[in-house]
């Protein structure tokens, strides 16, 4: 409500200022810029300071409120609970009414006081920031009004500001990447302070224990991520075994054999597969495919787990078919017609032409399509969360339950967790690994594509 009020005040101040600039310019003669630009200039000079100040609100939580709330807690209780971050999370959640009534009743006096203090500080800070925002807007207004002359080059000024804003917007993507990398590296370093690097990479036992409080006994689990890597690889490979033949042959058929009419309908139909939300595939894998596999295996005298790698892999394969087929079709179509004509003129059949001439020259593009599909398979989350299970088995049997990097990231972070526990931090280490691998695959794939493009340029 407070944020909505702030937004409303900021917008009306901006509008009023803009209107005033426009109105005043209208009453002048010999204007250098049209009145609308004076209006825009007035508006921007009020809106931008307010926008800059409102960024304070983003850092206010960690800079002002958190230290203040933690200082309210008595020495006794902060000593008892090693983890201040966890304590703070508990307090904020209680304040926002996100915890159940039973656990709310169980809060001790100290926490209750902290919650009250949190709410008070939050409100005071919010009000303070609101005042600051209004003040900065008024200051901006004063300065732009003072500088107003009929000869003010308002259009040039507005355009300069707009250009800066455009450039800043393109920086957001960089900031996002920087945020991802920094957050992952920072938390991963904290993880490796508690768990040795070699154990994480080469350990074969993964069981992050449910340690809610840092002072609980047995809070440190085992963090050998090798079973996760193996599981991820196995599911991705099963998916590729489905997607590569189906996708590639579909692409060849669509690019080389199909009538234009068939192509116009079949291509979007294939792309529907990529548009279906992954949670739908997860539901399908868990509800239909996995029981089907269990039944078939029982009929053949084998035993399959109800959450098997095979089920997740098969369904994931269906999902990534369009990633393979769509890109492959593009590169196959891009092969120059003269190569085909030459081969056909030598008496080769169409299949021979495709196999011996078209595919080899499209190979780099196809390889990069496969790499992109593979990176998609590694990063896919919901299917494995719902269908592949959570048991970190180190196995080569696709009928058993395995777990993956993404599934572990999600399951360790869903639910309330102490932000300092190795279990939570392990998710960031896994995330960094995943980010690194997918980034590598994408960079290689893009390289290959670029090189290929140059070849026929």
């Amino acid at each position: 409500m407070n944020s909505l009020l702030t937004l409303l005040i900021a917008m009306s101040l901006t509008f009023l200022s803009g209107f005033r600039g426009w109105y005043r310019a209208n009453s002048e003669s010999n204007l250098r810029s049209r009145p609308i630009y004076h209006g825009l200039n007035h508006g921007l000079w009020v809106a931008l300071p307010m926008l800059a100040v409102s960024c304070l609100w983003l850092v206010s939580d960690s800079l002002i409120i958190k230290p203040s709330v933690l200082s309210v807690l008595t020495q006794n209780s902060t000593q008892l609970l090693v983890d201040a971050d966890f304590r703070y999370l508990e307090i904020t959640q209680a304040a926002q009414g996100l915890i159940s009534a039973s656990s709310e009743a169980a809060l001790d006096e100290d926490t209750k006081r902290a919650v009250a203090h949190y709410l008070l500080t939050r409100q005071n800070t919010d009000n303070g920031i609101l005042l600051l925002i209004i003040a900065s807007g008024l200051l901006g207004f004063r300065s732009v009004v003072r500088r107003f002359k009929s000869s003010t080059p308002a259009r040039e000024q507005v355009e300069r500001i707009v250009k800066i804003l455009l450039a800043a917007s393109s920086g957001v993507a960089v900031l996002t990447t920087a945020g991802i990398v920094l957050a992952l590296i920072f938390e991963t370093l904290r993880f490796f302070q508690q768990v040795p690097f070699t154990e994480f990479l080469f350990g074969t036992h993964w069981s992050p224990q449910m340690a809610i409080r840092a002072d609980q006994v047995g809070s440190s689990g085992a963090f050998g991520a090798l079973p996760l890597f193996a599981g991820t690889l196995m599911i991705a490979l099963i998916a590729m075994m489905v997607a590569v033949p189906v996708g590639l042959y579909s692409a060849i058929y669509l690019a080389e054999y199909a009538q234009p009419k068939v192509r116009t309908y079949a291509k979007p139909a294939l792309e529907i597969l990529a548009g279906i939300p992954t949670v739908v595939y997860g539901f399908f894998a868990a509800l239909t495919v996995a029981p089907l596999i269990v039944d078939i295996c029982r009929a053949m005298g084998m035993s399959a787990s109800s959450e098997s790698a095979l089920a997740a892999g098969l369904v994931m394969g269906v999902m990534i078919i369009p990633f393979v087929s769509s890109l492959s079709e593009d590169v196959i179509s891009a092969v120059p017609q003269s190569l085909r004509d030459g081969s056909l003129a030598m008496g080769a059949t169409k299949a021979e032409t495709i196999r011996k001439v078209v595919l080899p020259s499209a190979l780099p593009g196809i390889v990069s399509a496969l790499l992109l599909a593979f990176s998609r398979a590694i990063g896919e989350t919901m299917i494995v969360v719902m269908a592949a299970g959570l048991a970190a088995n180190m196995t080569a049997n696709p009928l058993e339950s395995v777990t993956t990097i993404t599934a572990q990231i999600v399951t360790t972070l869903v639910g309330d967790q102490s932000f300092d526990s190795p279990k939570t931090l392990s998710a960031f280490a896994l995330g960094l690994t995943l980010f690194f691998f997918t980034l590598m695959l994408n960079i290689i794939a893009l390289r290959v594509v670029r090189k290929y493009r140059e070849q026929y340029a």
């Binding site: 992952l184 996708g247 078919i321």
Partner: protein, 425 residues
């Protein structure tokens, strides 16, 4: 010489011809596999889910007795809050089976009726307090077990019904009386999540998704368009620009779960935005959608013919004026197409929302973007993980709803794209 070889030649030609046909057949086979997988998936989900749009209800008389309700003749609102509607509902239902006397039997008898019966009755009394003391006929939902059993055609074999033989007999009596019917399940669209499958709906999740997408659009669209304009029109080919471009391409391929980590570590823990809210979810999804919008908008700007720019410049317009008055209007439908496709992706995104806590069980419809909420795909995940069998058809039905939304969005994108093609000609 030629004649001697011709049989071998013919054989080889035939073999080559068959190889050609075979190759072609593989292609058709591949397409068929992909198509049938899609069909199997859709048919499977639609056949599971369509039943959830019907709700089994019972039409019965409620004897609203002020004594049983434990309220005065003209009760105040607070009094009605405390009113014992459960007892009224129970007594009225027991009245249909006067022969059932034992407490244990009564308890299992009342299990036929949903908790929703009492809630509906409470709503009725609140809206019409004058009906206290009279007998009203209401149509109220039955329990999830009855719902499944009735919709399966009173055939417990198929669905392994959890109803016992006595309950089945009672239900049969009610069905024979013509009291049990099905109606269109409006509750499914208006209710929020519930522990009881027959009361759970996607209303809360749809509102949550709407807020999330709205915030995503408000952030990602202006930023994406601005970034695309800068990169396409103003940036020179410097080292920095190339980094930004490479960055955007890589960001488009980062797994969504990584964005969840970003949201958790930065947006929740550093910026302190409220957990579980559409506000935080919308920001995370906006960062994910941004590359899609930038890439679409850039290619839309590229297709605007240079003659338009030159004509504008020749008339004395500044570069910014040319862009905002001439280039962007021409590139707008291409940009919007990309934006809609980006939003459609965001609509189905689950993993990042799970990680910023939008999985909390929330039993009321959110009213503001900074209220705790859940989103449609997350609701699907929550129901899919639920052990209660009544949720299976709900899950499939929610999937049907999300697929309908996706189809609508994609159709809109296709229409926009076709309109661009016509106007560019």
């Amino acid at each position: 010489m030629h004649n001697l070889d011709s049989t071998i030649q013919q054989k080889r030609d035939r073999r080559r011809m068959f190889a050609d046909l075979r190759f072609r057949a593989y292609g058709i086979f591949g397409l068929l596999i992909a198509g049938s997988a899609l069909l199997f998936l859709l048919v499977n989900i639609f056949s599971t889910g369509y039943d959830a749009f019907r709700q089994t209800v019972i039409t019965m008389e409620f004897n609203i007795d002020a004594d049983v309700l434990d309220v005065s003749a003209m009760p105040s609102t607070e009094e009605l809050q405390e009113a014992n509607t459960l007892k009224v509902a129970k007594n009225s239902f027991y009245a249909l089976f006067p022969e059932v006397k034992k407490r244990k039997n009564k308890r299992s008898l009342y299990k036929l009726i949903s908790l929703g019966a009492e809630l509906d009755l409470r709503d009725h009394i609140r809206l019409q307090p004058e009906s206290i003391g009279s007998t009203v006929t209401l149509t109220v939902p039955m329990s999830s077990d009855v719902d499944q059993y009735f919709k399966a055609g009173l055939n417990g074999e198929e669905i392994k019904s959890r109803l016992n033989e006595k309950q089945k007999a009672w239900l049969q009596t009610l069905v024979d009386n013509g009291q049990v019917t099905t109606r269109f399940n409006t509750d499914f669209f208006t209710h929020a999540d519930s522990r009881y499958p027959e009361l759970a709906g996607i209303g809360g999740a749809m509102v949550g998704t709407m807020y999330t997408l709205l915030i995503c659009l408000l952030i990602a669209f202006p930023l994406g368009v601005a970034a695309a304009i800068y990169l396409e029109e103003f940036s020179r080919d410097t080292f920095l620009t190339r980094i930004i471009e490479a960055n955007i391409n890589n960001l488009a391929a980062v797994p969504s779960v990584i964005f969840g980590l970003l949201g958790l570590a930065v947006i929740l823990n550093v910026f302190g935005l409220p957990r579980s809210t559409p506000l935080a979810g919308g920001i995370v999804l906006a960062l994910m959608t941004l590359p899609t919008i930038i890439i679409a908008c850039r290619s839309a700007i590229k297709t605007v013919p240079p003659s338009i720019r030159e004509a504008g410049m020749a008339m004395g317009a500044s570069p910014i004026q040319v862009i905002f008055h001439h280039v962007m209007p021409a590139a707008m439908s291409g940009t919007l197409t990309g934006t809609i496709i980006g939003l459609a992706q965001a609509l189905g995104e689950t993993a990042p929302l799970l990680m910023i806590g939008m999985v909390a069980f929330i039993a009321n419809v959110p009213s503001m973007p900074n209220d705790p909420a859940t989103a449609l795909p997350v609701q699907i995940y929550l129901w899919a993980e639920s052990a209660e069998r009544g949720f299976v058809e709900k899950t499939a039905a929610a999937i049907m709803v999300i697929i309908v939304f996706l189809i609508a969005m994609n159709l809109l994108a296709v229409i926009l794209r076709n309109r661009t093609r016509i106007s560019n000609k």
